[in-house]
Amino acid sequence: MNRMYSKKIHILIFLLPALALFCGVLIAPIGASAYYSLFDWNGFGPKTFIGFSNYKELFTSDAIGFLKALRNSLLLAALSVFLQLPLALGLALTLGKKIKGERLFLSVYFMPVLISTVVIGQLWLKIYNPDYGILNVFLRAIGLERWAKIWLGTKETALGAVFVPTLWQYVGYHMLLLYAGVKSVPPELREAAMLDGATDGQVNRFIVLPYIKPIIRISVIFAVTGSLKSFDLIYVLTNGGPLHATEVPSTLMINMLFLRNRYGMGSTIAVLLIVLCFGFALLISAIFREEE
């Protein structure tokens, strides 16, 4: 069998469709973007080679504000790892203990993942509306008039206001992943620990968490790269405003590509975004391996 399994022709045939699809749609465009990032080009007119000037401008120009956008998305990634995931993990652990209504909770918690981001965005626009939005109406009703704010329109609050729905929408996704892990813990392990007099907390801490570490790793990778790539909801809610307070690299990229006609600069951001996502994925994997 080994001889049959080592034949080059078989390997090639089995891999060809995947490689063609992968290289054609994902890898080749990266190459194209890397190439175009060296040009000053609006996308349809003549192009001028300018070397790494786009990269230089991106990191030095205050007007573009790439570093700020990057900081915003890194902050989102951090919040995602330290707020969203613990919440998802908490839910997963709670539901993993055979609680009544487990299935109902699971199903409903996952729903926001299925609803289109456009819908979620419109909903939160209504929640944040300064006049009649539920948030301000609620604050006024309980006498906290002073706290009522123009959430998406003020520089200080906009970023936070955009992050809340972004983080909320995917809690269910991570919860289901982690729940899957919790459910896969062999019941014997759990029972043995219980017999030894371990509390719920101790079982979770010493039995469940170590067991589901690989899934936590995947969750963390998804959370971080997802934050760096985040676009849809921010686009609907603020499109990077007010005064670039909620700008992230993706909104900046689309802006450059299609609104400002700076195709070269847009490609530059695309390249950096990919490098960044890949770098973080490797970094997270390395951190988890270190721990082991």
Partner: protein, 424 residues
């Protein structure tokens, strides 16, 4: 590893070859029956006020020109911008429309400069008496005409006359003193004079640009938008300060900063704000509101450089023809006629002012529209909306500074200093 790399390279090459050598049957824009099919891309979606005009104009055209079929595809406004640009960037002519909607000024200009748009000079010859040259100025590049206006709009200051009456005004204020007195009275009575959508910066320009033109005059503002003069003009700083002064006095709904235009407009139509300054395409909706409505222009600020009858506006929406079209002649002829008729029906539907000569009955139009028509007729100088007039990159820079003005992050000095530094 080398082998893998080689394999990858080979695959990419196969893909590239397939991409270049694709020889699938090309359509020649004809159906089996020999009909000429023209693809038209526009933004007149289901709920867009322009849609009835497009449908009617197309139906008329097809009836008058048997053998020509127009396939209209409508896209949502924001996504259309990305779509048409991707199509212009992208490869094959089969994937381009024959006729496409565009904004005039720099938006169309960048396509013209790239050689993607057909010159329509020949086709306009037959229409010389139907459209004044001034209406084609925003789509004229190097003396050649490339766009067909489908509508003409100015920035109008709509007023809720019922609210104004409550504080003792029976007309739309025409001087700045009157306007401030009226606004002060409204504020004192606990009412909000203006609403402005901070989420959509173009709405802020609908307030700022009229102040600027009423301060420095249309010739100078045109030069600045065209990049021929510097932003470094102390009167522009003064205009910015005027707007911020109005904001500081509480003339603007503070919640507007987070709202989109639809919401701000809804507030005005529901009687929550007294004024709404925006494009004249809103006339139909305002006329249909439950209150008595009035209209005027922003008051004159500096009589030395400007006059009351100058305003921001122009034929901002146009049709153009792709130079790659397989039916250039038919497309060009159709574009001009369609543009004229869309404009005609838009006016009758009260969603735009006529850029073309009015040679049809208008007696049934709402009075508000007649009032705006009078404003347009008495117009002494026009400047196209700044974000349309300017090239894409400076336009976005300009918008970001306008947003900062509305957000109070910079004052007039900062505005002109920043724009002088970043644009010139």
């Amino acid at each position: 590893m080398k082998k893998i790399l080689a394999l990858l390279l080979a695959l990419c090459m196969i893909f590239a070859l397939a991409a270049c050598g694709g020889t699938a049957a090309k359509t020649d824009g004809k159906t089996d029956g020999g009909e000429t099919v023209l693809k038209l891309w526009c933004i007149a979606t289901e709920s867009d006020a322009n849609r009835p005009a497009y449908l009617q104009a197309i139906a008329d055209y097809e009836a008058a020109h048997p053998g020509v079929k127009i396939e209209m595809e409508a896209f949502e406004n924001e996504s259309y911008k990305t779509k048409i640009k991707a199509a212009m960037m992208g490869g094959d002519t089969d994937d381009l429309p024959d006729i496409f909607f565009s904004w005039s000024g720099a938006f169309l200009g960048e396509f013209v400069n790239a050689g993607r748009v057909q010159c329509l000079d020949e086709n306009f010859k037959a229409y010389a008496d139907k459209i004044p040259e001034s209406m084609l100025s925003t789509t004229t590049y190097d003396g050649k005409h490339f766009g067909v206006p489908t509508t003409f709009n100015i920035v109008a200051m709509y007023a809720n006359m019922d609210m104004l009456a409550e504080v003792g005004w029976d007309h739309v204020p025409e001087t700045y003193e009157d306007l401030t007195a009226c606004c002060d009275a409204l504020v004192a009575a606990g009412k909000i004079p203006f609403g402005c959508a901070g989420k959509e910066t173009w709405c802020v320009t609908e307030y700022l640009e009229p102040i600027i033109i009423k301060t420095i005059g249309y010739q100078d503002l045109n030069k600045i938008f065209a990049g021929e003069a510097s932003w470094n003009d102390p009167d522009i700083a003064k205009s910015v300060d005027t707007l911020q002064d109005m904001i500081a006095k509480g003339y603007f709904d503070p919640n507007g900063a987070a709202l989109g235009n639809d919401e701000v407009k809804a507030n005005f139509l529901a009687g929550k704000t007294a004024f709404y300054q925006n494009g004249s395409w809103n006339t139909g909706e305002v006329a249909a509101a439950e209150f008595k409505s009035g209209v005027g222009l922003f008051p004159l600020m500096n009589a030395d450089r400007s006059s009351y009858n100058q305003t921001i506006g122009g034929p901002s929406d146009v049709l153009a023809v792709c130079s790659a079209s397989k039916n250039l002649e038919a497309a060009s002829a159709a574009a001009v006629e369609l543009g004229k008729e869309i404009c005609h029906y838009n006016f009758l539907n009260a969603v735009g002012m006529p850029a073309w000569a009015v040679d049809y009955d208008t007696s049934s139009l709402p009075p508000l529209l007649v009032d705006i028509g009078a404003l347009v007729n008495s117009c002494e100088g026009l400047v196209l909306f700044g974000d349309t007039a300017m090239a894409a990159d400076p336009a976005q820079i300009y918008l970001s500074y306008v947003a900062q003005v509305y957000g109070g992050a910079i004052d007039g000095e900062g505005f002109i200093a920043g724009l002088t530094k970043d644009i010139g």
